[in-house]
């Protein structure tokens, strides 16, 4: 298989549970790199801590498995130190929306050339099932044994407002669409945020009447609404739904490009 070169096949089988959606998102990343024709030597994948972040170990690029919540901050250092690199961040709903939320919005604001792929399985899987900031309201989790009373974060709206050049949400159920968003996200020069709704049968499904991976995928199918259709619906109708599609596409100048111009002007001024 042609895409095999993007994987460290000797590191497989992966650590994810049977029925987990993360492998599909990881494959979509490999396809995205392939579509763009990036030199694997120039690709750096930075991840945080959690189930999603383990994907870095299976991808055959420069891979940096960092600390919880900070992969975007590490990636900012990598990209600024060498703007020629293609920098992808793999994060999850706990890593990216909770502990790492601050780094996410500031990277959007700078519009630095980092492609963030957030694997949203709506639960802390690695620590066995605590609710995250993206867990749907009412869900059962080990730390919400009576049902989650917190509303979930819509990071697509947040990153769009914070200044990202590209924002989209797809699901593991609608894989071809996810692949097309991945390609578009990677082709953007500035900051991109792509959220992939994934499924955790082990720690989310079992506790929330979605007993099999198939039921979870069906849940994704039945609850997804395309952003174009969502525009005509009122907030009550959209409650608990997954809005998919491209939220924003802009071509604002990328941060390291601005930085290089700054250096050129400062150095030019000296001569």
């Amino acid at each position: 298989m042609e895409l095999e070169k993007y994987f460290r096949v000797e590191k497989l089988p992966h650590i994810w549970c049977p029925g987990c959606g993360h492998g599909s998102v990881m494959m979509s990343i490999a396809k995205g790199v392939d579509k763009l024709g990036w030199d694997p030597k120039k690709v750096v994948v930075v991840s945080g801590i959690g189930c999603s972040s383990r994907a870095a170990g299976y991808l055959n690029f420069n891979t940096l498995h960092t600390v919880h919540g900070r992969p975007i901050a590490f990636a900012t250092g990598v990209k600024l130190a060498n703007p020629e690199l293609h920098v992808i961040v793999i994060t999850g709903d706990g890593d990216g929306a909770a502990i790492g939320g601050n780094h996410l919005i500031h990277a959007c604001r700078r519009n630095i050339g980092i492609n963030v792929v957030l694997f949203n399985n709506q639960i802390y899987g690695m620590t066995s099932g605590q609710y995250s900031p993206m867990t749907p309201e009412g869900s059962m989790a080990t730390t919400s044994p009576f049902g989650n009373i917190e509303p979930p974060f819509d990071l697509c709206e947040l990153t769009k407002s914070a200044g990202a050049n590209f924002v989209a949400r797809g699901t593991v159920y609608h894989l071809p669409k996810l692949d097309s968003y991945m390609e578009k996200a990677f082709s953007k020069k500035g900051f991109s945020y792509l959220e992939a709704i994934s499924q955790c049968p082990t720690y989310y499904g079992r506790r929330n009447k979605l007993k099999t991976p198939l039921e979870m995928l069906e849940w994704q199918k039945e609850n997804s609404i395309d952003i174009k259709k969502a525009k005509d619906l009122d907030p009550e109708e959209l409650k608990g739904k997954i809005i998919t599609g491209i939220f924003t596409e802009r071509d604002e100048e990328e941060y390291t490009v601005r930085y290089d111009k700054l250096i050129a002007s400062v150095q030019g001024g000296k001569k």
């Binding site: 498995h65 960092t66 600390v67 901050a73 250092g77 990598v78 060498n82």
Partner: protein
């Protein structure tokens, strides 16, 4: 030149071209100076959204091939600790400048203290080595910052420059060595086949693996988990043991060459003052006054405080009948002196932790024979 400014000059002369930081008193001049000086050199300065992010960006930039620095003060130093440990574990060269202020907590932001001596040693979780340098003059600030970058690169480890508010804001005339006398170290590079490259394979006597930059052709995995030569996680006890021991041994092996210090009148002395940082300036004044009074006192100023220069301290103190350790805290490094010295030798602390510079009189009062 100011102490904080001298740190920047030392780091730039050692080849630093990347700085990430977050504003905090009394270290902000370091950030401001890097912000002004890096872009003209083609380097990068970035003000990050918080202290943790700036530490992360520094490690990211280091792995991308740059010599990278951050600076902070007490509260920010606490926040950076987790990623200092990450840098230790993955062996990412970097320098952290901590201009100490009085703590705990927000404490006294504009007052001097030396309360982070133990945090510099044990701040990040787990068992880890530490390399910490402590300037007591503006010249020191330059030289030790230069040295810190060199050692970070050579040993592939974070190096901490532990200043205090007094040294950071001190202005004094400095005499710097000529550029040609300053030898710059850079991390080792691999030469083998990129396809069979193992990022943590040890072939050299110094126990330090080469570190290629991202994009240089060598692809590898890096993780804060315990890892084997391939860079991939392993929880096998022998792998864990081997890595942790090597992280310590690569520094311990060269320990003697890392002990920087100044000493005065040790031979003709029966009492000894030990100090470091800004306190060492008061200690030197106290030593002079004691000598004028005819007392036989020696002075040892430590520049390297971690690893603790056990051999230097025991050699200077073994034949003394009174040792005074002067520091601006409730007594931190004195514990190390007590640990290494013969238990029969009395050891006294001259301490001050109220945000005011310790005075020579306070130190003098701890010597025998002062009326």
């Amino acid at each position: 030149m100011q102490g904080n400014e001298a740190c920047v000059e030392g780091a730039l002369d050692a080849g630093v071209r990347f700085y990430a930081g977050y504003p905090i008193t009394p270290s902000s001049e370091i950030a401001e100076d890097f912000a002004a000086k890096l872009p003209p050199l083609g380097g990068k300065f970035i003000q990050m959204e918080d202290e943790i992010a700036s530490m992360a960006a520094v490690v990211g930039a280091s792995l991308a091939g740059q010599k990278a620095v951050t600076a902070t003060s007490g509260p920010g130093f606490s926040l950076k600790q987790e990623i200092i440990g990450f840098a230790t574990m993955v062996e990412a060269p970097c320098v952290i400048m901590n201009v100490q202020r009085a703590g705990p907590s927000t404490g006294l932001p504009t007052s001097p203290a030396q309360g982070d001596v133990m945090q510099a040693r044990w701040g990040t979780h787990g068992d880890h080595p530490a390399l910490v340098l402590c300037p007591s003059s503006v010249t020191d600030a330059y030289l030790l910052s230069f040295q810190a970058v060199n050692w970070a690169e050579r040993f592939r480890t974070p190096v901490i420059v532990l200043l205090d508010e007094t040294i950071g804001h001190l202005r004094e005339r400095v005499r710097l060595p000529g550029r040609e006398e300053m030898v710059i170290s850079s991390r080792k590079q691999p030469h083998g086949d990129p396809e069979t490259f193992q990022p943590y394979e040890i072939t050299d006597e110094d126990l330090i693996p080469p570190l290629p930059p991202y994009g240089g052709g060598y692809r590898f995995h890096t993780t804060g988990l315990y890892h084997d030569e391939t860079g991939f996680p392993s929880n096998r006890p022998e792998v864990t043991d081997r890595l942790l021991n090597r992280l310590h041994e690569k520094i311990d092996k060269y320990k003697e060459t890392l002990f920087l210090y100044e000493s005065y009148g040790l031979r003709q002395a029966n009492q000894l003052i030990i100090s470091y940082g800004a306190s060492a300036r008061s200690a030197k004044a106290a030593w002079r006054k004691a000598r004028e009074k005819g007392l036989l006192v020696g002075l040892l100023i430590l520049k390297t405080i971690w690893p603790f220069p056990e051999e230097i301290v025991t050699q200077a103190g073994h034949d003394k009948n009174n040792i005074v350790v002067a520091e601006m805290n409730k007594g931190q490094l004195i514990g190390e002196v007590e640990r290494v010295m013969d238990k029969r030798i009395p050891i006294r602390g001259a301490n001050r932790a109220d945000g005011v510079l310790i005075t020579p009189e306070q130190i003098l009062a701890k010597l025998e024979g002062v009326n």
